[in-house]
Subunit: 227 residues, 2 copies
């Protein structure tokens, strides 16, 4: 039975990979930068998106897909900024998959989008196995979670281009060494970039917005080459 299970899992992941590759081609052709945000529950994905949407110039055409097992709370929090926001409620599934993304954007014209954030289900394990056609995965780690997480959950840190180390305003109150956390992340993935942020004090948000801007520009330029 274990062999059957592995075969089925492989089929599911292959099917996911096929849809993700198709999504990636579409995103690249439209010049839309797609970022897949992954973290534990409560690391501040939605808060980071709130700060981001509040700061982005209205000329940047942005959308958010936000995944949760239950509730539409996150979509409600994000809708007030006037950008396109859609909730994906998985009903129990512990991750988003490429088919869910394909369905959610079915009625959208990607040519009208510069930037699409996908806020995954809060889970540091399962979402790392599912390609959503994104240009990059971003892992968010809050300083309250402990500096050992990149070693204990290596897959998502290995696959992410950027680690956002969030809630740094709480550093005075928790036993957490930024140096050790960064060292652990780099040990798992030497090329990972790191940005420190706090959504309550706005610390580091300029660096984050600069990173985004640079990646949006790259996506646009790559599209020009494709066209």
């Amino acid at each position: 039975m274990i062999t059957h299970r592995i075969q089925i899992e492989k089929k599911v992941l292959n099917e996911n990979q096929r849809i993700a590759a198709d999504l990636r081609r579409r995103f690249e052709e439209s010049g839309t930068l797609v970022l897949n945000l992954i973290s534990s529950p409560g690391s501040g994905k939605t808060s980071l998106l709130e700060c981001t949407l509040a700061c982005l110039p209205r000329s940047t055409r942005v959308a958010v897909l936000t995944g949760d097992i239950q509730t539409e709370n996150d979509a409600q929090r994000l809708q007030r900024f006037g950008f396109l926001v859609k909730q994906i409620t998985t009903g129990g599934t512990c991750h988003l998959d490429a088919r869910m993304i394909e369905r959610a954007i079915a009625s959208w014209d990607l040519d009208d989008l510069d930037l699409l954030f996908i806020e995954n289900v809060g889970n540091l394990v399962c979402p790392s196995s599912y390609d959503l056609g994104e240009a990059a995965k971003i892992v968010i780690l809050s300083v309250t979670e402990g500096e050992d997480k990149p070693l204990k959950y290596p897959s998502i840190f290995f696959k992410s281009e950027l680690m956002v180390l969030n809630k740094v305003d709480l550093l005075p109150y928790v036993p957490f060494s930024v140096a050790v956390a960064v060292e652990n992340a780099k040990r798992t993935h030497p090329g990972i970039e790191v940005i420190l942020t706090s959504c309550t004090t706005d610390y580091g948000l300029n660096g984050w917005l600069h990173w985004l801007d640079s990646r949006v520009t790259t996506a646009r330029n790559s599209q020009a080459v494709l066209v």
Copy 2:
């Protein structure tokens, strides 16, 4: 293919249930209280166990099984208290299952154990689907994670007898209402008990130890009835 996948998932869960039922019978016959601790990564499961092992009288015969995807860090942290500790490294699997528990305790004499803590993989979603033969599931939520978590991850709050609301020493620094979190937990599971704790200030640890003591006594008395 989806039908095949569901059938395989059902078989896996049925097989897990069969082993879990056997484990539960063995735990009840030996009068061993088994608690399955589930939370997000970094909510403080290991810290709570450190405080607990430091406080428990040496006459209480305790063991810990601690689950992680990678590293033996948690077992190393817990071994210094002199109780029986074993690490289960899942190598990628996002939860513990009953077969892993069965294997881990194969060489143990359960009659020598009053209390077995199972520290699950840090994941608020998948572990809730796998019965490990425990007497009770306990969900740990830290106040840095947000008061909406019982609504967004209802399954584990519904299945847990107790919510330990941890890191309450950080309440002055985070936007978190204990009343709203408890209301959300009770809305998901009206019968859930709640204990507030801080492992850095020892707040609430007496209440937690009292809860444990009362449950250990119940397990022993139930065994007497069985015998």
